[in-house]
């Protein structure tokens, strides 16, 4: 049996007529050519953005030397993978990814529910603040947590010893726990951002119906709210899980001292720490991981297939918050605690440290504004900053538009080829960043010289769009999945073209997600290093390269000044966005 979502979607097939090109519009509309053109266009675009660099890597994994050099085709790369050592490493990696994804998801769901669906005090401010750790470069938080949680002189251990009088050091971030904890700093806000708007766009009457059926709040939450969130939850969880597999900084900083090996450090070593770099092995490993990860995506398709998750309906949909009574102080305290532990502690270190000559040496004679002066007075910084702003604005906007289109076709139509583009849009996320960066380098360098991409800022832009597409598609997919079809259909019937309908109804309803996606991508671009460092050229330096240089030259304090500037921007963006959301909810 088919389901209505798909059947209805079937009807939104034709492309809109644009005024000047109305004859094309008519041609596309009266035949089924329109959707073929649309899908083909996206397939070609995604092929260039993600399949092409991946195919370079595939070549690399099957060839004894990287592209452009003489060598032979063989399977050595793949054969090398199957060692016992790698099996352990893989288990380790998957274990860590699970260990961080599951508690992160629980925390994120809890926070999203508290901040989006209850009347917890100051939830607007808290919502903007608790996501901050996500936007700080990981090296900084790693350093901050190293200072807080090292067993010898870590602040937390010293406080513990001072309070209890014992001389044991219970906290050691250089451990499995530390790796997982550091990852959670990123995955909780990430998951939170991805799901919070799904929580907000929830028709309350669906929950009310469950409570009228006798279900407690908790049960309602589990059987109705969470289930209706499945597209958002599974999408976000998979993104986060994959990130966990591919996370590199946390195991590098906190795992190495404890002897923890994960796949990515393995890949990193095989490229950066071998001579000559073993690209064949690195790419082969990446493809094996990618194949495994794709299984999870298939699982998600299975879970969601044939079900509808439309919570925003054309009939009495009213997004109101739940009155918690006295419990709201409990939820408030919980958020505050979370805020303190994940934001105040590390960010506080960075903030204080940025006013001293050296981190960790808080003596009066070392107080200085030198780091701020150095950053603001640096031509490198401003050049990187303006390039990154340009790339961020353009890149995030284009990526969201592309993601919006792909998600629209894959979620809200029944066109042939929609699964294909959905799958293609996943690809860049499944390839570890360090490897994919090399793929872009090879791909862009080997393009015919007539295509002027290599060595220009456009190479970076294309790489960013490719890297960001999976995220934008996931975000927009889960937002679209919530909208009931009649909202869109009604617009079409009343004369709105497809584009008008997209702009005024679909995006307008999904815009909180759109905005969150945009912010995530914008800051993703600010942070992206692996591809940036391989593709940037003189004149097109980006902020992440500037940060790398500062760090490598021992200017950790300046790096954190820049980190703090980035955070300031996040606060600004989110504050504006949440204010608009709030004004809308208050109007009800």
């Amino acid at each position: 049996m088919s389901i209505s979502a798909e059947d209805r979607a079937d009807n939104l097939r034709a492309m809109p007529a644009t005024p000047g090109l109305s004859w094309i519009g008519r041609l596309l509309q009266t035949t089924s050519a329109g959707r073929v053109v649309a899908v083909t266009f996206l397939v070609v675009l995604l092929t260039f953005l993600s399949v092409y660099p991946l195919s370079m890597l595939l070549y690399g994994s099957l060839h004894s030397t990287p592209p452009g050099m003489a060598g032979t085709f063989n399977l050595d790369g793949y054969l090398q993978i199957f060692t016992q050592q790698n099996a352990v490493t893989l288990l380790n990696t998957v274990g860590i990814a699970f260990a961080k994804t599951i508690p992160s998801l629980v925390l994120a769901v809890l926070l999203a529910w508290i901040l989006a669906r209850t009347d917890t005090p100051m939830r607007g401010t808290l919502e903007a603040l608790i996501t901050l750790p996500f936007f700080i470069p990981p090296i900084l938080t790693a350093m901050a947590w190293g200072m807080l949680g090292n067993p010898q002189v870590g602040l937390l251990n010293q406080v513990y010893q001072w309070v209890t009088g014992s001389n044991t050091a219970p906290i050691n971030v250089y451990s499995y726990g530390g790796v997982v904890w550091h990852m959670m700093q990123y995955s909780v806000p990430f998951l939170f951002l991805l799901i919070v708007d799904a929580f907000r766009a929830m028709d309350q009457s669906l929950e009310e119906a469950a409570r009228m059926c006798g279900a407690s709040r908790l049960r309602t939450f589990c059987t109705v709210t969470l289930q209706l969130m499945l597209p958002a939850l599974t999408g976000a969880a998979i993104l986060s899980f994959i990130r966990g597999i591919e996370n590199f900084e946390s195991p590098l900083f906190f795992g190495t001292p404890a002897g923890i090996r994960v796949i990515t450090t393995d890949i990193y070593d095989s490229i950066n720490q071998r001579s000559p770099p073993e690209y064949q092995y690195a790419t082969a490993v990446s493809f094996v991981i990618m194949a495994l990860l794709f299984l999870i995506v298939l699982l998600q398709w299975r879970i969601l297939r044939g079900r509808s998750f439309q919570t925003v309906t054309g009939k009495g949909y009213s997004p109101t918050v739940m009155k918690l009574g006295r419990w709201r102080w409990v939820t408030f305290a919980f958020c505050l605690l979370f805020f303190f532990v994940t934001v105040i502690l590390p960010v506080g270190q960075l903030l204080i440290g940025s006013f001293f000559k050296f981190f960790g040496f808080y003596q009066q004679d070392m107080l200085t504004l030198e780091h701020y002066r150095a950053v603001f007075g640096s031509g490198d910084f401003w050049r990187g900053f303006s390039n990154t702003m340009l790339l961020g604005f353009v890149g995030a906007t284009l990526t969201m538009l592309l993601g919006g289109a792909v998600a629209y076709i894959s979620v809200r139509t029944k066109w042939r080829g929609r699964r294909l583009i959905d799958a293609m849009a996943w690809l860049p996320w499944m390839m570890p960043g360090i490897v994919l960066g090399v793929g872009f380098l090879w791909g862009f360098a080997l393009l015919p010289h007539a295509i002027p991409i290599y060595g220009t800022i456009w190479a970076l832009l294309l790489a960013y769009i490719s890297l960001g597409t999976p995220l934008s598609v996931r975000i927009m997919s889960s937002a679209y999945a919530q909208l009931s079809f009649d909202l869109e259909e009604c617009s079409r019937v009343h004369g709105g073209s497809w584009l008008q309908t997209m702009g005024r109804i679909v995006i307008a309803l999904a815009w909180p997600s759109f905005a969150v996606g945009w912010v995530l991508l914008f800051f993703g671009i600010m942070r992206e290093l692996s591809a940036s460092v391989l593709l940037y050229s003189v004149g097109s330096e980006v902020l992440s390269v500037v940060l790398l240089k500062l760090w490598a030259n021992g200017n950790a304090e300046q790096v954190s000044v820049i980190g703090l500037i980035m955070m300031g921007m996040v606060i600004l963006f989110r504050w504006v966005q949440l204010k608009v959301i709030k004004s809308r909810i208050n109007a009800l």
């Binding site: 990287p66 592209p67 452009g68 050099m69 090296i139 350093m143 190293g146 200072m147 090292n150 010898q152 002189v153 250089y174 590098l252 900083f253 190495t256 001292p257 002897g259 070593d269 490229i271 950066n272 720490q273 071998r274 001579s275 000559p276 770099p277 000559k357 050296f358 981190f359 960790g360 040496f361 070392m366 490198d380 090399v438 380098l441 090879w442 360098a445 080997l446 010289h449 290599y454 060595g455 460092v533 391989l534 050229s537 003189v538 004149g539 390269v545 790398l548 240089k549 500062l550 760090w551 490598a552 030259n553 021992g554 950790a556």
Partner: protein
């Protein structure tokens, strides 16, 4: 000689620009040299900063794709060795007058010329290590009192840790590394931050400490010790890339880099100059470092066996 060099200079000025691929990642002393070059000759320098393996891969890919964008590279000597082995990316080194001024044991090869040297010592926290305990020899590190107290750059993968491991393996007793391994040094992978961890007192000792990286820790309770056996080192070389679009400017740049003035800038940043006449003029503070006794270097050919050994000692 002079006349033909003048021709090079004027050709370089006509080219107007030189693109230098390097792995200094925008270090201030490198930038200072660039600036002096630019002011002296009016030729602009575009410096592309990358990490070692990225730099190598980018050069390889560009050469393979026929995109000849870079002129000169400044990269570690083993990388040069590797490039020569794996492909055809480097031109034969054109004649450069200042190579005559190299001080022993440095000398120019067919393809490259030494640029500067980064020796490594031991970093100690002056608050945690009492004067009488300060290690004066590499062997002192194997004393039981340091068990579990040494922070070290990871010796297994390529990098400073492994370079030190290889060189000490050759120059110290055969079982030195085995004994060191028994001290259970704690590995880490971020040299800059690790030095600060020692300064903050997490560990009393850090190895290997590149001298230059400690020059900006002034004011912190740390000190570099140069063991009596000498300092293992890594050497950076300069070379000209194949099909360089600005070959004369590249030559001129190398010439300038090997001038005493440029080398003095490096010496003052606690690096070992490669030409005669610079060390003597360095700051008093830098003196112990610019004339340090060197041991090494590590060579490409012994690297696999050394990495294998490191993996065995540190499973």
């Amino acid at each position: 000689e002079d006349a033909s060099w003048d021709a090079v200079v004027s050709a370089a000025k006509k080219e107007g620009k030189v693109v230098v691929y390097n792995m200094t990642l925008g270090a201030p002393y490198f930038k200072e040299v660039l600036k002096s070059f630019e002011t002296k000759y009016g030729i602009s320098v575009e410096s592309l900063d990358l990490r070692a393996s990225e730099l190598a891969e980018r050069i390889r890919t560009e050469q393979a794709a026929g995109r000849y964008l870079g002129d000169a590279e400044m990269i570690s000597s083993t990388m040069i060795e590797e490039q020569l082995k794996n492909g055809d990316f480097i031109q034969k080194l054109p004649p450069i007058p200042n190579t005559a001024n190299l001080r022993p044991p440095f000398k120019a090869d067919d393809h490259s010329v030494p640029a500067f040297v980064q020796p490594m010592g031991i970093l100690i926290n002056t608050r945690l290590v009492k004067d009488e305990d300060v290690p004066r020899s590499w062997d002192d590190l194997t004393s039981p009192k340091w068990k579990g107290k040494i922070l070290s750059d990871d010796m297994r993968p390529l990098g400073s840790g492994n370079a030190m491991f290889s060189i000490l393996q050759k120059s110290m007793d055969a079982d030195f590394n085995a004994k060191l391994a028994e001290q259970k040094p704690v590995f880490s992978r971020d040299m800059r931050n690790d030095a600060r961890r020692v300064a903050r007192g997490e560990y009393p000792i850090y190895i290997p400490q590149i001298f230059a990286f400690a020059s900006d820790l002034k004011g912190l309770p740390v000190k570099i010790v140069i063991p009596k056996e000498g300092a293992p080192y890594a050497r950076m070389d300069l070379a000209v890339l194949k099909n360089a679009p600005h070959p004369n400017a590249a030559r001129l740049f190398i010439q300038h880099f090997l001038s005493v003035d440029s080398q003095l800038i490096y010496a003052n940043a606690w690096m070992l100059p490669v030409v005669a006449g610079a060390a003597e003029r360095a700051d008093p503070e830098a003196q112990p470092f610019v004339n340090a006794k060197l041991i090494g270097p590590a060579t490409l050919s012994e690297r696999p066996s050394m990495m294998g050994l490191a993996k065995k000692l540190y499973p």
